[in-house]
Point group: none
Chain length 540, copies 2
């Protein structure tokens, strides 16, 4: 069988940034680009250099990538040459191997939105693409509103594509900009475009999810012959989002007929990183990962129905269309049944706690987790807090020290230069081996900047733990996440803290309270206790 | 043109309840059923009477509906007659006009999961359906794992369907139980089923979203000839959910070729209730509505890109595939670092600030927004903070009062009962009309529970603003969101606050700082200032 190469073009950093409420920092863009590159997409569209300072900074700072780095821009404006268009020049100045230019192909948009003659738009497309090609770059042409344009005036829409194609564009990308074209129509129109003379291996597809068909429309275009697929991680994007690569990649790699017909740049091994990449993106965005997300959601392989769960125990293939591990996800069988306890024992073993099958503590631990989760705690990621909870229930949690009280003061006032400045101060009182210790810290960092009350509290807590102090000296707080969530009927604050030590260990802890400082303190305390267990052992 | 009747079958109350973390009360089921009935679906599947006490109660309590109320169950078990199967009897006892029975059609499942002979399973299907029909009920047969079954053994899978059909089932529903069958395959297999002799107007489709193709697979089945569509509101359901009726209904009613080819029971007028129904369901489930949801999400008609926003101002059809009001939703034009001046003027006009085209303040406002966004602020939802920033730049921001300083103290200690308790106290010092005012508040609510430092600070700030106090007395903080983000090179805290007043106005403000209390204070201050502008005017 002939296997065709199918190319993946990621636009998370450009169209994905059009998601309402999202704006990436340069550092976040670099982190996402690195993850995309490791996953194995063919093109990474980094943004629109010149239009946006973070996009420009991204192209300056990004290092070499395996994927083809692509800058986005638009075709030259009317009334000037491609050489003299400063917007286009800024795009080229980013120095990327490939450049993707969006241009209009719908006659109504040309006259109504651009206000120029139809022929002039075609000439602009031709000149812009030729200019990119003349600079030795790979040129892509994003045909904006192509499907609506085709329905209104197929000859004109095709003329626009043909101008880009003849000018040397490597890819002509058919964009359903408004997201309103249904898969059946996409399939038919792509067939006609190919019949008119632009071969499928020069065509790409770019869909939006306004009818919940972005993935279906993309597959319909592939079925009809296109060989480049555009999309975003987690389906980010303007309005309802773009085609979701997180769903498309596993479908193309694992499912028939696609698995046999096409070769994509993502390996089976890299695919196992898909769920972590999806979760990382949500973490960057501080979004709650969508539980029902295909392939990568925490519910994607959760079997709630009793009949399903019991069949799954006999043969997972009965209710799973793929093996969850293939995409780095895992099967979930509700804690309430037998399988719940075996899951728990596996997690405890991972934490070095061997517990006999049938130990009554298992049921107590499950019960306590359920109770805590109803209060707003989460233990999926906060493995260290999970371990401490289990140890407590198993009678294997040494006390080390006792917190008697703490106090944090946050002040903001004008300084002598009449500028508002703020400062926090924390006092923590603990009892270690019967000895009371008072510690005080303030929130200023070495540069004199205020790092806030949690920072002051963390420093005060870790300042004097007597005999244990040397053990925690190499600990530091590396990440801090806050979310308002539901705890029973009240809104509460959930804090998740990532800590790291000198040996490179990294662990997560959770705290929940109506009071954000209190929630933070709880998570900090768990972080310190987990570290003491690791380095001092249980038998203190 | 011939218009076919296409039937909608809702299973929110049965398959939708398989969503992880969801269990409806009887009252909730009744409320959802009423909404579905008003919307105009043809069938409401209420649950499995006998298998689940809330389902049994639902059928007892539900009143007459326009839709055909349907009870769900399974085909009779082996070794007893349909008349003597107590599980089946419980389903019939619910007294519904229609009964839907699920049965196996995949040979492997018959032998591996049921452990019976293939022929016996066929006989069970036939006898069960005949029994329903003999009771004068409308019978539906859910062919479980049909597509996987067909791929494994098409003759056997079809034999199962045929048994139900010959026994008098009104509908044979082809179920893609594992959600792994892609639209192209569904289309092909449905065509073959029809070619073998079961007409499309006796066939239904039931898909799951495991590859993000539940909607696409459903449309592919309709294209191939089926005339009943099963799904759930908001795509609830086992694992990744069922086909989303909230997306399918507007597509079938408004979009071609479906709008011209089919008649569905939902009217254009009822469709305007779609967004409210979707939000009501999220409210029942206490879920945050998905912003990017097709048709009904709050971002579904949000135009962030500058180019899009300026075209939308000329003609909404340029970037919208349907008119938002048709589904009860509305258009949103948010601010962002990519928005152009026309978008900005439009936003200012919405805030009552008319600014001439070309006013140099426009460029300064955009510049300042860009600068603020690079520090971690976001203005696409925080419209009130956006307005204050713009007013400041336009010289239209009265000062009202000046904050001189504040101090918050958070303490946690053991009380006299040896329980840890926490308490925050805030002092705010402001100057109003030359008069210094000191206010102090603590964080306890009326029930004596600690609501945290931000609560104390909000109360102290709103305690004594002298002549303005009466204006802000009806303000309250209704939502509070926190995220850690990047501000320049440092991690900072962004707080977004929702406020509401006695007139039902609701507004959002933003604050950013390394110090979470400080970020909150900034957002609180903006909230108060916005309210004063609204109710005292500019000319103070």
């Amino acid at each position: 069988m002939m296997v065709d190469r199918l190319y993946l073009y990621d636009t998370t950093l450009r169209d994905g940034q059009q998601t309402q409420g999202i704006s990436f920092s340069t550092a976040e863009k670099l982190r996402i680009a690195a993850a995309l590159d490791a996953l194995g997409v063919d093109y990474i569209e980094g943004g629109w250099p010149g239009a946006n300072p973070t996009d420009s900074a991204f192209f300056e700072e990004v290092g070499p990538t395996r994927a083809t780095l692509t800058a986005f821009g638009m075709t030259k404006r009317a009334g000037r040459s491609a050489e003299n268009d400063d917007v286009l020049a800024a795009v080229l100045n980013a120095g990327t191997q490939a450049v993707c230019l969006v241009g209009k192909t719908h006659d109504y948009h040309v006259t109504a939105a651009l206000g120029i003659e139809l022929a002039e738009n075609v000439a602009n497309i031709r000149a812009s693409v030729a200019h990119i090609v003349a600079q030795g770059r790979e040129a892509l042409f994003d045909a904006e509103h192509f499907f609506d344009g085709w329905k209104a005036n197929p000859d004109y829409a095709f003329e626009c594509l043909k101008a880009a194609f003849d000018a040397g564009a490597r890819w002509i990308v058919l964009c359903d900009t408004n997201g309103g074209t249904l898969p059946l129509e996409i399939h038919g129109i792509v067939k006609e475009v190919i019949a008119r003379g632009i071969p499928g291996d020069r065509l790409g597809i770019h869909t939006h999810n306004d009818t919940e068909n972005a993935v279906g429309g993309t597959l319909a275009a592939v079925d009809a012959g296109v060989r480049q697929v555009q999309g975003t991680l987690n389906g980010l994007g303007e309005r309802c989002g773009n085609a979701n690569l997180t769903s498309l990649i596993p479908t193309l790699l694992l499912k028939e007929p696609y698995a046999s017909l096409y070769d994509i740049g993502v390996s089976r091994e890299a695919l196992e990183g898909l769920t972590p990449v999806s979760r990382m993106l949500d973490e960057v965005l501080n979004r709650v990962p969508m539980r029902q997300a295909p392939y990568v959601g925490s519910s994607a392989f959760a079997h709630k129905a009793g009949l399903h769960a019991s069949a799954i125990l006999k043969d997972p293939s009965t209710y799973e269309h793929i093996e969850p591990g293939a995409v780095g996800n895992r099967r979930v069988i509700p804690m309430s049944n037998q399988a719940g306890q075996s899951n728990l024992r596996r997690r405890l073993a991972e934490a070095g706690l061997e517990v006999e099958k049938g130990d009554p503590a298992l049921a107590r631990i499950l019960e306590r987790i359920k109770q805590r989760e109803s209060e707003g705690y989460v233990y999926d990621t906060a493995q260290a807090s999970f371990e401490l909870l289990a140890r407590d229930e198993l009678g294997r949690m040494p006390e080390f020290f006792e917190v008697k009280r703490y106090r944090v003061t946050i002040e903001r006032r004008k300084n002598k230069y009449d500028r508002m400045v703020s400062l926090s101060e924390a006092v923590v009182v603990v009892k270690v081996d019967g000895v009371k210790k008072l510690s005080v810290s303030e929130s200023l960092d070495n540069a004199g900047a205020d790092r806030g009350p949690v920072n002051a509290l963390a420093k005060a807590l870790a300042k004097d733990l007597g005999p244990y102090q040397s053990v925690i000296d190499d600990m530091r707080l590396v990440d801090f996440k806050v979310r308002i969530t539901q705890g029973g009927t009240e809104a509460v604050t959930r804090v998740i803290i990532d800590s790291q030590d000198g040996r490179g260990r990294r662990w997560q802890t959770v705290g929940v309270s109506a009071n954000i400082v209190d929630a933070s303190f709880e998570a900090l305390l768990d972080a310190v206790r987990w570290k003491l267990i690791r380095d001092c052992g249980e038998a203190v």
